[in-house]
Symmetry: C2
Subunit: 382 residues, 2 copies
């Protein structure tokens, strides 16, 4: 049954490949997220995306990226081609619209985000070296299936173990629990997030301590509840099931000094709430593009916020090794206001934190890749 | 930038979900390969696939599966829906055609095969219990990146470590090197192949020995060659780079008695050739839907075939722990003839082998899942 597809594949890859590629070599070329053997999608140095698809009978084909649709133009062979405006550096979800059908681009690799598996495009970034695949020692990313008694379901997490983990059988490592954002899942950080490559490179340069990273799914609902209380159930799964399982399965250093947590967007909100309920479990927290007062930009009253968790600044400064916050400079509402209000509260309480802004990026993965790069260099150094 | 997609996602999942689902509950329901939260594709007990997609301006939409196109019908809201003929049990690659554009179904999960990342559909099988996700101890599947000096490129393999591997630091395990077919890659066996779940279940029932499984990419070309000699370069990568790396990284039993090899289709051809060149390295071989005389169905002369590798039957019977061959009963040309000719040669030489036929399946993954189930129960038992 494969054979029909094989023929299609050969036909596609041979069609005027040489001529077209030579003509456009100076400007557009396949993206890092273009499927091997496919010519499109392509990107250029300005960050434009060029999509192309054969659709001889279609009347309207669009590239849909960043909330904007770009009309493609049909040639005399029925192939539609067109370009987007320049996009921000880094990774973006996108799709094609063919006569009103929103579909993945058959030329791209697929990623989970925005609530679906679909197309993603990588725009080369000026600082892409920090997540490049290099000839350095590489850690492993392993898929772990486990059954949760709290949710009554099978769940899955991905676990990064640093270079050298498998070659020795003695060394124990600190652990970072790293969470995705809303409508994403446990695959995000080690796929479009490049968490494994970021750590491989930092560890090779001795800029970060070798660490285990656990990337679980932040959605959970307890079997006792009919409607999901996502953060509460996830907090239980994380602290009562996931951490004990990781400490049993992997060579961790199982204490708060060697356990950190972080998350992006929804994951920032979740992990900061969980952190403040479990200061005996974690010593560092990273909130990337999110804070627990989201989406409000109102002033925070530390006496009442999260049951007064932030009311005693001096005590918190002793307990927290790293409190890290970040966002991209191009992030829109409600993030600047809500993160601003949270920082203002911290400042008012005299609580120490590290703040990072990702230049020229929005509420997207390039912001979070850079945030992880910064945060990973701070933790487990006390 | 995610937000537009989030709105789309909500709109799609809420549109008349309840009404449609209730109406069709007795027959069609989402497949195991349908994306979480999506209503289509669906399958029924007869093995029919129902696809549905909104494409208000399209003039022709088809479901394309198994080399056959099925026309979908448009309703007054612009949603196209239609059904395929009954499909064989197990996993199939498919796509949608929208006004001449061949695209992935936005409702399915995506798999690598047929030379592309694209849609796959799981048809429930009468024997699906053997690869079901159960509440048994689960091994891990880890992604391993390594640099090959032979190819001059980064390569990737997936490694299954059995339940208990990470919890202890002493036990050493035998290793199965397990290869994909043509136009597939290193992701196939642990995704649509279900190799990890098959072994988790067999090990839980004590039907297979706990083992490590290494799933590499069978495509390789040496940096010295301008044109790819895939099997020759892969043979070098496997024996000179991959096996030493695996033996260094994982707790293997690094000898031929505890090393087996197997592959499907192209991978069967490759691994049987490699096996006969490296009887000092491997003791068991499994050829699933493939043999090294492919695609010929002519009689094989053992004196000359593969440099006379099969010319001394009694000696081979002492060296080979398991020689396993399989195919599906519905496989078409050239497989019945080429596998038949290979078996005839083995019979003529008095070489012992185990032969398995997967009932009512073609040259597809259900044949190979079952073949792995059979083969895994035979190896590492001497």
């Amino acid at each position: 049954m494969c054979f029909k597809y094989l023929i299609t594949f050969f036909a596609l890859t041979s069609t005027s490949f040489t001529a077209l590629y030579a003509q456009e070599a100076n400007t557009f070329k396949p993206s890092a997220t273009t499927q091997s053997g496919k010519r499109f999608p392509q990107v250029n140095a300005k960050g434009q995306v060029k999509a192309s698809i054969s659709a001889p009978s279609a009347t309207k084909v669009q590239l849909d990226i960043g909330g904007v649709q770009y009309d493609l133009t049909k040639d005399d062979k029925g192939v539609w081609t067109g370009e987007s405006a320049p996009q921000d550096e880094g990774f973006h979800y996108y799709q094609l619209n063919i006569d009103g059908a929103a579909v993945p681009d058959p030329g791209s690799k697929y990623f989970y985000g925005a609530g679906r598996w679909g197309s993603g495009i990588e725009i080369p970034a000026h600082d892409q070296d920090f997540y490049a695949l290099k000839d350095v020692p590489h850690g492993l990313v392993s898929e772990n299936i486990y059954f949760s008694k709290i949710t009554g379901t099978a769940r899955r997490c991905f676990v990064y173990t640093p270079p050298g983990y498998t070659e020795n059988d003695k060394t124990r490592y600190p652990v970072l629990y790293l969470q995705h954002g809303s409508f994403e899942d446990e695959t995000g950080w080690s796929s479009q997030g490049k968490a494994n490559l970021i750590l491989d490179n930092l560890i090779a340069e001795q800029k970060a301590k070798p660490m285990i990273i656990v990337m679980d799914n932040g959605y959970a609902s307890s079997r006792a509840e009919s409607s999901a209380n996502s953060t509460a159930a996830f907090e239980d799964v994380l602290t009562k099931e996931l951490i004990p399982m990781i400490d049993a399965k992997f060579r961790t250093i199982a204490n708060r000094q060697h356990r950190a947590i972080a998350g992006l967007s929804m994951g920032a909100n979740q992990t900061m709430r969980i952190m403040m309920n479990h200061l005996d479990t974690f010593s560092s927290i990273g909130g990337f593009s999110g804070t627990p007062n989201y989406p409000s930009g109102d002033d925070i009253n530390p006496a009442t916020f999260l049951n007064g968790s932030f009311s005693n600044g001096p005590a918190l400064n002793k307990q927290l090794h790293v409190l890290f916050l970040s966002k991209g400079t191009k992030e829109g509402n409600p993030f600047p206001a809500s993160i601003g209000a949270f920082k203002k509260m911290l400042d008012g309480q005299g609580i120490k934190y590290v703040y990072y802004e990702s230049p020229e990026t929005a509420h997207e993965w390039q912001t979070w890749r850079r945030s992880l790069r910064e945060y990973a260099q701070l933790i487990f150094k006390k």
